[in-house]
C-alpha cells in the first residue's frame, strides 16, 4: 500500500517536472495595437507582436545541439540566429514617407525601402561571411532583395546603431553591419511571409486585422523584424531572446464622423489569440479631445513616457465583445491644438544641374530649448565621387541667418568626425560626425560630388530612373519628447531618437545602350565602302567599248544607250 502511494507520488512529481520542461513556461507571446489620431485627420495603427524565449539568449541558440524544440518561437528566425551568429538584428520594409512635422515621430523610424542592421556575436570568426549568409537567408525569408547587397552597399558605422539589448563583450563596430535599399518595393509578398512568423498568424488575435488590400491602400506602411537579447530581470543575470514583429500603417480616415476598427481594416477581430499572455488595444487621442469611444474603454492608463504623461484608453482583447467605434464631435481638424515642434529634424537636398558636378546639402536643426548631442551618418555609393575638399560645415545660431559660423572655428560643435573614401566597385563613401548643437540652432553641411561612369552592364534595367543615395541617419538620446509616439511595450526614461532623411535620387549620365551595335554597323559600312572601292580599283580593268559588239546587243540596251546620248547632248 505504502509502496503504491510512493509510486503514484513519484509519478506525479515526474509529470510535474515533465510539464515544467515543456514549452508553455519558457516562451511568451504578447501583442498590442496602438491607435493614434494624427493632427491632420489621419490615424496611425501600430502593431507590436513580441515573442520571447526566456533564458535562451542568441548565444545559447548557436550552441544548440542537433535536437531543438522551438515551440511557438519562429523556427526560421532561430535557425538564422544560430547559423549566422546573430546577436541583434533590426530589419524594416517601408512604403511611403512618414511626415515628421505633421505627425510627430513614428514609433519606429524607418526610411523608404528596406533597412537592415545586425550585430554579430563575438564568436563569429568571419563576420562578412555570416553577413552574406544572413542576407541570403533574409531575402528568402521575407521575399526581399537583400541578396543583391555586396560590399559596395554595406556599411560599418562607428557611432550610430549602438546595440540596445543585453550585449555580450565589447562594443566594437567590427561586429556591426548596416545596409539600406531605398529602391526596394514593398508589398503583399513581404507581408505574407512576415505574418507567417506570428504564432497566431492572420487567423485570430490582432493579426486577423491584416488585410492586405486595406493595409496597402494607405499613406504609410512599414513592417519590421527586431531580434534583441533581452534581460530577464533587473540585474540581467539571465538573458533571453525577444523577437518583435511590428507593423505601422497610416490610414486616411473614412468619410463621415464615425468610423470603426472594422471599417478601417476591412476585417474584425473574432477572438483573442489563445497563445498570447497579453493583448491590448491602446487608443491615443493625442491632440483631439472631442472624441467618443464606443464601447467604453476598459480602463484608462496614464503612461509616463519620458517627461510627458500620455493618457491612453485601453481595451483588453479578451473582454472586447464588439467592434470599437470612434465618433468625432467636430470634424474640423484646423481647430486641433497646434502641434509642438519636433526637437530634432533633418533635411537634405541636391544642388547643381547637368550631368557633371552636383552638391548635397544637409541641414540638421535642433529646435529644442536644450543642447543636443547628435551622431550623424551619411553614406554615398562609390559612383558619386565625393570631393571632400569642398566640404563645408556652418552653424547657424538662434536660427538667425546673419549669425553663421564655420563649425571648425567653434570649440565644441564637432566632437567626432570620420570620413572614409570609396574604392571603385568595392567600398562606398561614409561620413560620420558627432555634433553638439546649441538650442534653436542648425548645422548645414555642404559637399560637392562628381558623377562617375559605370560600365554598361552595371546599369540597372531602369537606369533612367536615377540612382539613390541612402537616407542619412541621425541618432540622439532625448529625455523629453512631446511628439514622440508612445511605446506600449516598454517604459523608458530616455529615448533613443533615430530619424532618417529622405533618400536622394540622382540621375547619372546614361549611355545609349544600343551604341555598341550602332558602332559595329557603322564601322562595318565604312569598311565595306572602303573595301568595295579598293576591290573594284584593283580587280576591274577599263577597256574601250567596241562599236561592233554594241550592235550585237539587244534592243533594250540600244534604246537605253540612245537615251543616254540624248541626255548627254543636252549637257
Amino acid at each position: 500500500m505504502m509502496k503504491t502511494q510512493l509510486e503514484t507520488s513519484f509519478i506525479i512529481i515526474l509529470i510535474i517536472l515533465l510539464f515544467n520542461s515543456s514549452v508553455g513556461t519558457n516562451q511568451d507571446y504578447k501583442e498590442s495595437l496602438l491607435l493614434k489620431l494624427l493632427p491632420d485627420g489621419k490615424v496611425l495603427a501600430h502593431f507590436d507582436h513580441v515573442i520571447t524565449w526566456n533564458h535562451i539568449s542568441p548565444l545559447d541558440m548557436t550552441a544548440f545541439s542537433n535536437v531543438r524544440h522551438y515551440g511557438i518561437f519562429p523556427r526560421p528566425v532561430s535557425e538564422m540566429i544560430s547559423l549566422y551568429n546573430v546577436e541583434e538584428l533590426y530589419l524594416s520594409l517601408t512604403r511611403g514617407k512618414w511626415k515628421d512635422r505633421l505627425w510627430g515621430y513614428p514609433p519606429i523610424d524607418s526610411p523608404p525601402g528596406a533597412e537592415l542592421w545586425a550585430w554579430f556575436l563575438p564568436q563569429a570568426s568571419d563576420v562578412d561571411e555570416d553577413w552574406r549568409g544572413l542576407l541570403h537567408a533574409l531575402s528568402g525569408l521575407l521575399c526581399s532583395s537583400f541578396d543583391a547587397i555586396d560590399s559596395t552597399t554595406t556599411f560599418i558605422p562607428k557611432t550610430s546603431f549602438k546595440p540596445t539589448g543585453a550585449f555580450i563583450g565589447n562594443i566594437s563596430s567590427s561586429r556591426l553591419r548596416y545596409t539600406a535599399l531605398p529602391r526596394e518595393p514593398v508589398c503583399t509578398e513581404n507581408l505574407t511571409p512576415w505574418s507567417k512568423l506570428l504564432p497566431c498568424g492572420q487567423k485570430v488575435g490582432l493579426g486577423s486585422l491584416y488585410y492586405a488590400l486595406k493595409l496597402y491602400d494607405t499613406n504609410y506602411h512599414s513592417i519590421s523584424l527586431k531580434i534583441v537579447p533581452s534581460c530577464q530581470d533587473d540585474s540581467c543575470s539571465s538573458v533571453g531572446t525577444a523577437v518583435t514583429l511590428s507593423l505601422s500603417v497610416v490610414f486616411k480616415l473614412p468619410s463621415g464622423k464615425t468610423w470603426s476598427l472594422s471599417s478601417l481594416f476591412g476585417r474584425h477581430i473574432e477572438k483573442k489569440c489563445p497563445l498570447s499572455s497579453s493583448s491590448f488595444i491602446y487608443f491615443d487621442k493625442y491632440l483631439h479631445k472631442d472624441i467618443n469611444l464606443y464601447p467604453e474603454p476598459h480602463f484608462i492608463e496614464n503612461k509616463q513616457f519620458l517627461s510627458s504623461n500620455v493618457e491612453l484608453s485601453v481595451y483588453e482583447l479578451n473582454n472586447l465583445k464588439s467592434d470599437i467605434k470612434v465618433s468625432l464631435k467636430n470634424k474640423n481638424y484646423s481647430q486641433v491644438m497646434p502641434h509642438p515642434p519636433s526637437p530634432l529634424s533633418i533635411q537634405r537636398y541636391l544642388t547643381g544641374s547637368g550631368h557633371g558636378r552636383g552638391g548635397i546639402v544637409t541641414i540638421i536643426s535642433n529646435n529644442d530649448d536644450e543642447s543636443l548631442k547628435v551622431s550623424f551618418l551619411d553614406m554615398v555609393p562609390w559612383f558619386f565621387r565625393i570631393l571632400y575638399h569642398t566640404l563645408t560645415c556652418e552653424l547657424t545660431i538662434n536660427n538667425n541667418n546673419n549669425n553663421k559660423i564655420n563649425c571648425e572655428e567653434t570649440n565644441n560643435t564637432i566632437l567626432f568626425k570620420e570620413f572614409s573614401p570609396a574604392k571603385d566597385r568595392v567600398l562606398p563613401y561614409k561620413m560620420e560626425y558627432i555634433f553638439f548643437i546649441p538650442p534653436h540652432s542648425s548645422i548645414s553641411l555642404y559637399v560637392e560630388f562628381l558623377r562617375g561612369f559605370l560600365k554598361w552592364n552595371e546599369y540597372p534595367p531602369d537606369a533612367s530612373l536615377g540612382f539613390f543615395i541612402n537616407s542619412a541617419v541621425l541618432t540622439s538620446n532625448v529625455y523629453k519628447c512631446a511628439n514622440c509616439t508612445v511605446s506600449t511595450m516598454e517604459n523608458r526614461s530616455s529615448f533613443l531618437l533615430r530619424i532618417h532623411s529622405d533618400p536622394l535620387l540622382v540621375s547619372l549620365p546614361i549611355p545609349d545602350f544600343s551604341m555598341p551595335y550602332n558602332v559595329i554597323c557603322f564601322v562595318s559600312t565604312v569598311i565595306a565602302i572602303g573595301f568595295g572601292s579598293l576591290f573594284n580599283l584593283t580587280t576591274r580593268e577599263l577597256l574601250p567599248v567596241n562599236e561592233e559588239e554594241e550592235e550585237k546587243k539587244g534592243v533594250l540596251v540600244r534604246i537605253i544607250n540612245k537615251l543616254k546620248q540624248l541626255f548627254l547632248r543636252k549637257d
Partner: protein
C-alpha cells in the same frame, strides 16, 4: 595562260581572307571548352546500371558436436537472379570446430567479432540464450531442432542475410511503390516534428523533450543508423494553419478520404517556412483535430480506419485524438510518447530500412546489422548509378549545345568524379562496402558540382540571330563582290580553257 592584273589581286584578296581573316575570326569567336574524358564517360553509358554481381560471404559455424554443416550449406551456395541483370553471388564457407563443445565466448574470441559489411556468420546452436547479446553483430543464430528443420532455417537465413528480398523491393523498377517512398539520398536529414493544433486552445503541455530523448534519439544514435546518415531534430508548434479536412461522419468517428490528404500537405508545407539547412527535410505532422471532429480517422480504400499516414519522400501525418483538455478548454496537452513509436516506424519506412519487426518501435531498437548493410549497399549502388547518369547527361548536354563554356575546374571535377567512381567500383568488387560508400558519395558530389556549375550557362542564352545581326553588316557587303568576281573569274577561265581545247 596569262593572268590579268585583276585576277591576281582577286586571288590575293581571297588568300588573305582564307589564311588570315578566317583563322582570326575562328580564334576570336570560339568558346573555351577544355577537353573532357569523352570516351571514358560514354563507356559508362554502356555499362550495366546496377552492378551485376553482389557478393555475400557467409561462414557457417556449428556449435554442435557431430553436426556436419557442409551437407546443408553446400546446397545453398546458389545464384539468385533478380532484376534482369543483377545477381547475388553467395560464397559459403563451413568452419568446423571439432573436439570439445565450444561456448559462444570462446567462439567469438576465435572468430573476429565484427565482420565487415557483406560478411556474416551463421551459427547453429542448441539454445538461443546468447543470441540476443550478439544480435547486433553480423551473426545470426539458428536453433538446431532436427535436420529437415535446419535445412529450411539455413535456406531462410541465407536469404535474409544476403538481402534477396530487400534488393528485390528497392532496386527493382517494377516495384515502384517501395522505391518511390524512400527519401532522396543525402548525407543527412532534418527531422522536423510539427504539432498542428486545429483546436482553439493552446498546447501547454507537451513532453517532446523527454519523448525524443527516450524514444527517437536511441533510434537515431543506433550504431548502425549512424553509418548511413546524420540527423538533426527540430520541433515546432503551429496554430491556425488553415489546415482543414473535409470529413464525413461515421459511427463513433469522423473520417477523411485519402483524396483530401494532398491539400493538407501543401498547406502545411507553405506554413513551415524556409530553412537554412542543405539537407532534405522529413516532416512529421502531429495533427490535433478540433474537439468537434474527434476522433478523426482516415478511411482507406479497403474501408480500414487508421490514424496515421505516410507521405512518400516527405514525411508522415498522425492524428492525435486522445488529448486532454484542461482548465475550461483553455489548454490541451499532447503526450508524445503515444505518437513517437508511429513516427519511428514511418521514419524507418522513409529511410528504406527493412522493417521486419513491425512491433519493435521502442528501445532498444534491435536493428539487424544486415538490414542496414543492405541499405548501405543500395545507397552505394544508387550513388554509383546517379554519378554515371549525371556524368553521361553532362557530356550529352555539352555535345548538343556547342556554345557552352567548359572551364578547367569542370574538367578537374569530372576527372575526380571518374577516379572516385573507379575506386568505388573496385571497392565494391572487393566487397569493401563501407569504403565504397564514402567513395561513391564523393564521386557523386564531384559529378553534381560539375553538372550544376553556373559557368556552363554563361553563353547559353546568346542567340544565333544576334550573331547574324553583327556578321551581316560586315560580311555581306565585303563578301558579295568578292564572291561574284570569283565566279566571274572561274567562268572566264573555263571559257579560255574551252577555247584552247577547241583551237
Amino acid at each position: 595562260m596569262v593572268y590579268s592584273r585583276g585576277s591576281v589581286s582577286l586571288l590575293s584578296i581571297v588568300c588573305v581572307w582564307l589564311f588570315l581573316g578566317l583563322p582570326v575570326w575562328w580564334k576570336t569567336t570560339t568558346v573555351y571548352r577544355s577537353t573532357l574524358p569523352h570516351s571514358w564517360i560514354t563507356s559508362l553509358q554502356h555499362e550495366q546500371q546496377v552492378l551485376s554481381v553482389l557478393s555475400c560471404n557467409i561462414s557457417a559455424i556449428s556449435l554442435i558436436t557431430g553436426l556436419d554443416l557442409s551437407s546443408f550449406i553446400k546446397n545453398t551456395s546458389y545464384f539468385t537472379i533478380f532484376n534482369k541483370d543483377s545477381v547475388i553471388n553467395v560464397h559459403s564457407l563451413v568452419k568446423e570446430y571439432r573436439g570439445e563443445p565450444l561456448s559462444i565466448e570462446d567462439l567469438l574470441n576465435k572468430e573476429s567479432v565484427s565482420n565487415p559489411v557483406g560478411h556474416y556468420s551463421l551459427i547453429v546452436t542448441r539454445a538461443l540464450e546468447y543470441s540476443t547479446q550478439y544480435k547486433n553483430e553480423r551473426n545470426l543464430f539458428i536453433e538446431y531442432i532436427n535436420n529437415t528443420q535446419l535445412q529450411e532455417d539455413i535456406n531462410d537465413s541465407v536469404y535474409k542475410l544476403c538481402g534477396v528480398e530487400t534488393f528485390n523491393k528497392l532496386l527493382n523498377n517494377s516495384n515502384k511503390k517501395e522505391s518511390l517512398r524512400r527519401m532522396k539520398i543525402s548525407p543527412g536529414y532534418d527531422i522536423s516534428i510539427v504539432v498542428i493544433s486545429s483546436a482553439d486552445s493552446a498546447v501547454s503541455e507537451w513532453n517532446i523533450d523527454i519523448s525524443t530523448n527516450q524514444l527517437l534519439l536511441p533510434f537515431l544514435k543506433h550504431n548502425n543508423i549512424k553509418k548511413i546518415a546524420n540527423f538533426t531534430i527540430s520541433s515546432q508548434l503551429l496554430y491556425f494553419t488553415d489546415v482543414e479536412f473535409m470529413t464525413s461522419e461515421d459511427i463513433n468517428c469522423h473520417t477523411v478520404s485519402p483524396a483530401h490528404v494532398p491539400h493538407m500537405i501543401s498547406k502545411v508545407d507553405a506554413k513551415l517556412g524556409s530553412t537554412v539547412s542543405q539537407w532534405p527535410r522529413l516532416t512529421f505532422v502531429v495533427y490535433v483535430p478540433h474537439p468537434t471532429q474527434r476522433p478523426l480517422l482516415i478511411r482507406n480504400r479497403n474501408s480500414d480506419n487508421t490514424d496515421s499516414f505516410l507521405v512518400p519522400q516527405w514525411g508522415g501525418v498522425i492524428f492525435y485524438n486522445d488529448y486532454v483538455q484542461t482548465r475550461e478548454n483553455d489548454t490541451i496537452s499532447v503526450d508524445m510518447n503515444v505518437v513517437m513509436p508511429t513516427i519511428v516506424r514511418q521514419l524507418k519506412l522513409l529511410l528504406g530500412i527493412n522493417d521486419e519487426h513491425k512491433s519493435e518501435t521502442s528501445p532498444p531498437y534491435n536493428l539487424h546489422a544486415w538490414d542496414i548493410d543492405h541499405l548501405l549497399m543500395i545507397q552505394t549502388l544508387e550513388r554509383l548509378s546517379l554519378t554515371k547518369v549525371s556524368l553521361v547527361s553532362l557530356i550529352q548536354l555539352l555535345d548538343n549545345v556547342k556554345n557552352m563554356v567548359i572551364s578547367d575546374h569542370i574538367q578537374t571535377e569530372v576527372v575526380q568524379s571518374l577516379n572516385d567512381l573507379n575506386k568505388c567500383v573496385a571497392s565494391i568488387a572487393d566487397g569493401q562496402w563501407s569504403v565504397a560508400h564514402s567513395q561513391c558519395e564523393t564521386a557523386l558530389d564531384h559529378a553534381e558540382v560539375a553538372f550544376f556549375d553556373p559557368t556552363i550557362l554563361a553563353l547559353l542564352y546568346f542567340p544565333d540571330d544576334q550573331k547574324y545581326a553583327i556578321y551581316i553588316p560586315l560580311f555581306l557587303p565585303v563578301g558579295f563582290p568578292v564572291l561574284l568576281s570569283l565566279i566571274k573569274l572561274l567562268k572566264s577561265w573555263r571559257q579560255s580553257r574551252h577555247k584552247e581545247k577547241t583551237s
